[in-house]
Amino acid sequence: AQSVAQPEDQVNVAEGNPLTVKCTYSVSGNPYLFWYVQYPNRGLQFLLKYITGDNLVKGSYGFEAEFNKSQTSFHLKKPSALVSDSALYFCAVRDVMNTGFQKLVFGTGTRLLVSP
């Protein structure tokens, strides 16, 4: 089965500094990878996805993610963090069930805290 792992429960970074939120994946076949963000009292919001093509994927709010096949990683990055980036971030991979139905398999989430 497809899975992702987020090794950090929390990441702390100062405003203006670059941030990285880590994700590694385990898949059979080609990975379809995603990042979602959940702000307080809001739903999960899609940030970006990797299907194929360039290893560096750009998404919403200035975020980007780097797909690294040799390291089986898909880390989320931003060059300069904002306090408003503080939220819960979920990495996810697409899994295809025997019936052909596609579902998302999420990681446990990483809380990002950006201090002023």
Binding site: F46, L104, T108
Partner: protein, 114 residues
């Protein structure tokens, strides 16, 4: 910006009681989903719903669970007789297409079974 809304934000119930979690999907969406996240664990797929019937369900979605779209706008998840292990954050999602990797998620309902 249209969004999926869920009510209540937090529900506390006694073990053995029935609970109904409510969701209002985005109005032109046709595909509906429930996911849940037990505290500290992964967000897990529960069920998908299309054309007034379940299209897919996971092994978690046993006979204690049911979903329906009672009035064309709401989408509900019912747990018939709650257990302690049902305590989790439940996320509703909806999408225009059957690719639920492009679904929009609600803010979640935290269910606490005591």
């Amino acid at each position: 910006e249209p969004e999926v809304t869920q009510t209540p934000s937090h529900q506390v119930t006694q073990m053995g009681q029935e609970v109904i979690l409510r969701c209002v999907p985005i109005s032109n969406h046709l595909y509906f989903y429930w996911y849940r996240q037990i505290l500290g664990q992964k967000v897990e797929f529960l069920v998908s719903f299309y054309n007034n019937e379940i299209s897919e369900k996971s092994e978690i979605f046993d006979d204690q669970f049911s979903v329906e779209r009672p009035d064309g706008s709401n989408f509900t998840l019912k747990i018939r007789s709650t257990k302690l292990e049902d305590s989790a954050m439940y996320f509703c999602a909806s999408g225009e297409t059957g690719d639920n990797t492009e679904a929009f998620f609600g803010q979640g309902t935290r269910l606490t079974v005591v």
